[in-house]
Symmetry: C2
Subunit: 200 residues, 2 copies
């Protein structure tokens, strides 16, 4: 099926290109025309994948999100079941030198999502996936007796995700205050606060 | 001192205009030229206040931040000292129908701050102010015996702020999941988790 393979490869190639140009030139500079130039594509090739800049940002975001969750699953699988997997998942979602973060693409998505409900929906789909992952880890840690089952799984999930998002903002814009070491300590403190889990 | 008064009034007028245009047309659409048109100013008047778009966004953000903290101080002063003031401060920082949120300006600032350290510094100054406010409220609630003094005031402050930032993102992009009622419950749950404070 060479045609299908080509198509998947091309999608990935374009997504990587869009992310690279957004990271290098900022959301405003990354026009469809500029992406085409950077990748030596015709504009027609790009408009096959997205019809305007909102779709282009959504396309790049969704590809980055897929990569994030593939990577996350591998990190989680490598940790001990239960609390260690939960901690690994939360820590993975913070900026770190050795993992891609797609920060510029995230901020492009948010900047556009406040004006375009289709992009807010893309944001919501990502969070639904992320919440599902965390709920599974919370249930596993409770089943192993490492934590008490949260009174409300929904509240615990939302508070953990909110805390990680806030630390993500701190790590992104105040990296000296939120050093790599301190981020990890704060992930442990967050877990202990929300779940009463032993941070060690 | 009519000249000084005029200057302050003009600054406020321009800041409001910049915020309005960013909210209406998005960060990309809000060029210096477009702001000048919308306010019936000459471009020269605007470039007296900022030399480029990064400075324009910083200018609008700083004015919005000042308004936010003036409003916050009033909300806090109206509440009972201690835990009630702490809760009022946290709840005030979430999007609500009756308070200005400057969401579009925030996202413009962040989108630019990842590429311009001067804007990251503006972000950091805001957070320093916000942390100072919260530390004062935490100390007050502890002095009144309403909460145990946090083991680490720094960690408690950072976790509360991180949680509120994350809930802010949820409220902004998933307003149905994070209804006004649920946001308030989650603020109480966050307080209880971080401080062991009684959520009622």
């Amino acid at each position: 099926m060479p045609k299908i393979v080509d198509h998947a490869v091309r999608r990935e190639e374009i997504a990587r290109l869009v992310i690279r140009v957004i990271e290098k030139e900022g959301a405003e500079g990354a026009t469809v025309r500029r992406i085409a130039q950077a990748g030596d594509f015709s504009i027609g090739v790009l408009t096959h994948y997205f019809k305007d800049k909102d779709e282009m940002v959504a396309f790049a975001f969704q590809w980055g999100a897929m990569q994030t969750f593939i990577y996350l699953d591998a990190v989680v699988a490598a940790a001990e079941p239960g609390l260690e997997r939960l901690r690994a998942a939360l820590a993975f979602m913070l900026p770190a030198p050795d993992t891609p973060n797609f920060i510029a693409v995230w901020l492009s998505l948010w900047g556009r999502a406040i004006r375009n409900p289709a992009l807010a929906k893309v944001h919501g789909q990502y969070y639904e996936h992320w919440r599902r992952t965390l709920r599974r880890r919370l249930a596993e840690a409770a089943a192993l007796g490492q934590i008490a089952a949260p009174e409300s799984l929904r509240d615990a999930t939302d508070l953990l995700i909110a805390g990680i998002d806030g630390l993500w903002i701190g790590a992104t814009f105040e990296p000296r205050r939120f050093s790599l070491r301190r981020r990890r300590q704060l992930v442990d403190r967050l877990l202990a606060a929300v779940l009463g889990a032993d941070p060690r």
